[in-house]
């Protein structure tokens, strides 16, 4: 994160904090000898720069501390599963629906009240109401300067064409690509998913260990296009300016530009249910939603908060009718990916 965006973040926090400070006896943000009562513990798969300021806002608001343990979403899910009843965590904030689904399947999440669930569209929350989406991201085709935008495929399925041989990058060990394959399977059937994976492998698609290296490889000219989430590019453009060599294409057909979500759940073992739910409500409030939209260029999920102006509106992103809860079951997908040599 650059200094300028850090400064603007700090400014934003200060502006938000001002009115609170003016009408109450609240302290400086982040002051060490904060007398506020100890509060909830959040396990966050979302990294500090992308959630820290939102947490500060919440601490200010309720005058209670929030402790945050950062980590990779899936590892945190494994940790919560091992901790079981004794988990110190009250809230799990995950980068993907899959990790939430995994601990939900272990029966470790608590059903959320209706007023929380109904803040976001039904497609961005769990069927059983045990977790709720916070922000959305679209799966796009990122492309480099050597590529003619008019020649980009209308469907990710066309990336198996010989014209793309050796030019495509993906991150097969990454949860978002696995969710993508799962969605393809659910939409078009196992045979289409298998055929696509086989075609991608046969087409010498380059594998990277996560999305950022895919983007960087496009920027470096190592490959021409890649399947990644939209905000990796949006962030880099915000960081490096409009001359950044990677741009985003939203393919309209088939799987389209599948929209997935980050999400949050409250642990059944929480000893502070009210505060945990309060935090979830805060994440789905205007302030926090606006923050997510601006800082990480993701799509806010509540009504009345607009996404960054540089982004195509969510409603205009072609995304297939998929139940995101179903994407947590990647067992079959992994087998398929292994069979076809994609993994």
């Amino acid at each position: 994160m650059s200094t300028s965006s850090k400064t603007s973040l700090a400014l934003a926090v200060a502006l938000v904090a001002l009115p609170v400070g003016a009408c109450g006896n609240s302290e400086e943000p982040g002051s060490g000898d904060d007398p506020s009562t100890p509060g909830i513990t959040v396990y966050s798969g979302r990294i500090a720069p992308l959630i820290g300021p939102a947490i500060d806002m919440y601490e200010q608001k309720v005058n209670r501390d929030v402790e945050v343990r950062f980590g990779d979403s899936a590892t945190l899910a494994a940790q919560i599963a091992e901790e079981g009843e004794n988990s110190p965590a009250d809230v799990f904030f995950s980068q993907d629906a899959g990790s939430l689904g995994a601990i939900d399947a272990e029966g470790l999440l608590e059903p959320l009240p209706r007023d929380i669930l109904e803040r976001v569209p039904a497609r961005f929350r769990a069927d059983d109401g045990d977790w709720v989406g916070v922000s959305a991201r679209s799966r796009v085709i990122a492309y480099g300067p050597e590529v003619d935008p008019d020649g980009l495929p209308d469907s990710p399925l066309e990336l198996t064409d010989s014209e793309w041989e050796g030019r495509v990058g993906w991150a097969p060990t990454n949860a978002s690509l696995q969710g993508y394959v799962t969605a393809l399977w659910l939409l078009e059937g196992e045979d289409v998913a298998r055929e696509w994976l086989e075609g991608m492998v046969a087409n010498d698609t380059q594998a990277y260990e996560s999305n950022v290296p895919v983007r960087d490889a496009i920027a470096a000219g190592e490959i021409d296009v890649g399947l990644i989430n939209h905000y990796y590019v949006a962030e880099a453009i915000a960081e490096n300016g409009p001359d950044y060599p990677v741009q985003v294409h939203f393919p309209p057909d088939d799987l389209g530009s599948l929209v997935n979500t980050t999400g949050v759940g409250v642990l059944a073992s929480t000893d502070d249910r009210a505060d945990a739910l309060g935090f979830v409500r805060f994440l789905l409030g205007r302030e926090a939603q606006r923050y997510f939209a601006e800082s990480s260029k993701e799509y806010p999920l509540i009504e009345g908060v607009e996404p960054d102006h540089s982004l195509r509106p969510l409603a205009r992103i072609p995304s297939p009718p998929i139940d995101l809860s179903d994407l947590s079951d990647v067992e079959g997908t992994l087998e398929l990916m292994r069979d076809t040599g994609a993994l």
Binding site: M1, S2, T3, K6, T41, I47, A48, P49, L50, E67, V68, R69, F70, G71, D72, A74, T75, A77, A78, Q79, A81, E82, E83, G84, N86, S87, P88, G98, S99, A102, A105, T173, A175, Q178, A207, Y208, E209, V212, R215, D216, A220, G221, E222, Y232, E235, A236, E239, V330, E331, L334, R338, L343
Partner: protein
């Protein structure tokens, strides 16, 4: 030896050894518990054809990395300890330093340098080189792991060379053997325990490494374990695969035990070891310097150079570095505690294993290696499992973090300590006991000073690994406890690898002094 085997270890030593071995085996116990409930699906995961394929590939990588690390380390050790190589002490330090480079950073830097569109490609392009051969896959993983683990062999071999009695070589020389022959027939056999101990560590490290293989896109066993945890959320499968790693570790240990065998490595005569004179290199000076130079350039100058370059760019952009010092302090604290605790634990295991060989001590020594053969995520989750069930007040405290890191890296201290113990003549200890000193006193006044360099090497190795440890720190550190490694993780996972250059560079700086101390200590003064 037979007389020793018959002797029973003193009860406190035996208890301490068993306690250390048992604690170090906790990750293996956790795997057993996880598998126990789901034996069928665990067996399915293991006997999949794909699993066997990955196992074969991993075995090939382990063999290749271990062999090349030994081939690289033994000549470097000999050159920097026993010859008149110019600036020998400097080379001694420089060739040890690549160990401080975490494998994930080293691999990333190798890709930046030698990958398609890397620095080298840019340099060669005007010369007509269209595309370099791909570094990804086996070659990249092998290169990265060799370059950043060979000091694990170098350090014990160097220690062994220093402890070597020059009388043997002089005797061989007097009988008309040439320098090459002396090295082969006299020196090399005496280095076998040290090479074995170091090679074992390289092999086990390669088994458990995730950083280099993931960046080099090589599908190893540990990568499969990560996939099982992170993609399918299948803890049974992950545990089953982890159990296979433990079995592979036991096989490697058995191999090492045969290597170490029942030979005698200590001196039988009276007196202390006299420092050996430096062997003149003569016309081999230039090639020797070229070898040292090439290794240092690729494994040290290149990564450090890139990090310095990126750091200056970061500083130029005005990136705040205020937190780096605090994080460095935390890294130092954890690593120093783990090194201290690790050496004490390792001493119990090493004394038991070397002085009182038997079934119990063998078991204790081998259990102690369990944590090292497993990826950090397994060690950490094992302690999540036990921590939340039997030690909740300690869960996610500094104490538990230090404990986790200590058992993860315990064998790093056991190895050199054991090798040093082997070179201590038991007669000295027996004499001291014969004069009426109690066992602990004998250890303190006779054994400890003689194995001090081994203990120091062990402490330094634990320190070096602890200071860059990531998965256990992320999972078990107290909330808000940031180290250099977690800072690097934070920066890289937010997308800008270059932003991690400053903490990475500070990490190298923090790790360098113990290594420098290590390469200085005991250098032959001529």
């Amino acid at each position: 030896m037979a007389a020793l085997a018959a002797r029973r270890p003193p009860a406190p030593l035996l208890l301490a050894g068993i306690a250390v071995g048992g604690l170090a085996a906790l990750p293996a116990v956790y795997l057993a518990i996880t598998i126990a409930g789901e034996t069928t699906s665990a067996a399915e995961a293991v006997f999949e054809p794909r699993t066997l394929e990955v196992a074969a590939r991993t075995a090939a990588l382990v063999a290749a990395v271990t062999a090349s690390a030994i081939v690289l380390a033994v000549p470097l050790a000999w050159l920097t300890v026993r010859t008149d190589l110019p600036a020998r002490r400097l080379w001694a330090t420089l060739t040890t330093l690549p160990l401080v480079v975490p494998s994930y950073i080293g691999a990333y830097l190798l890709v930046s340098a030698f990958g398609p569109r890397g620095v080298l490609q840019d340099v060669l392009e005007p010369l007509g080189v269209e595309q370099l051969p791909s570094i990804y896959g086996f070659v990249g993983a092998w290169l990265a792991l060799t370059l950043f683990t060979y000091p694990l062999v170098l350090i014990p071999v160097r220690g062994a060379l220093r402890r070597l009695d020059p009388q043997l070589e002089e005797a061989a020389g007097a009988m008309g053997r040439g320098p090459g022959q002396i090295f082969r027939t006299v020196v090399l056999p005496q280095l076998v325990p040290a090479i074995g101990a170091g090679g074992l560590l390289v092999a086990l490290y390669t088994l458990s490494d995730f950083g280099a293989v993931s960046i080099m896109r090589f599908d190893s066993f540990t990568r499969e374990i990560y996939i099982a945890y992170q993609s399918s959320f299948d803890r049974t499968e992950a545990a089953a695969l982890g159990a296979v790693l433990v079995i592979a570790m036991l096989a490697l240990l058995a191999l090492y035990a045969r290597l170490r065998g029942a030979r005698t490595y200590h001196r039988a005569g009276p007196g202390t070891v006299r420092p050996a004179g430096a062997i003149p290199l003569g016309r081999w000076k230039a090639p020797a310097l070229a070898l040292c130079g090439a290794v240092v350039v690729i494994a040290l100058a290149l990564p450090v150079g890139l990090l310095v370059y990126w750091s200056t760019q970061q500083l130029g952009e005005g990136v705040a570095v205020g937190s780096v010092l605090g994080n460095a302090g935390n890294s130092l604290l954890v690593a120093a505690l783990a090194a201290g605790v690790g050496v004490i634990g390792a001493a119990c295991v090493a004394v038991l294993a070397v002085r009182y060989p038997g079934r119990v001590s063998t078991l204790v020594e081998r259990l102690g290696y369990a944590g090292y053969a497993l990826p950090g995520i397994v060690v950490a989750l094992a302690l999540v499992f036990f921590g939340t069930r039997v030690a909740l007040p300690l869960y996610q405290t500094l104490a538990m973090l230090v404990f986790a890191i200590t058992i993860h890296y315990l064998p790093l201290a056991v190895g050199p300590l054991g090798a040093a113990m082997l070179q201590v003549p038991p007669r000295l200890e027996e004499a001291a006991r014969g004069l009426g000193r109690p066992p602990l006193e004998v250890f303190r006044t006779v054994t400890a000073p003689l194995v001090a360099s081994g203990a120091l090497a062990g402490a330094a190795l634990v320190f070096l690994h602890a200071v860059k440890e990531l998965p256990a720190t992320l999972i078990l550190a107290p909330i808000g406890f940031e180290t250099l490694a977690t800072d690097i993780w934070r920066q890289t996972s937010s997308g800008f690898f270059e932003a991690a250059a400053i903490p990475a560079l500070v990490l190298l700086l923090v790790a360098a002094p113990p290594l420098y101390l290590l390469s200085e200590k005991g250098t032959v003064t001529s």
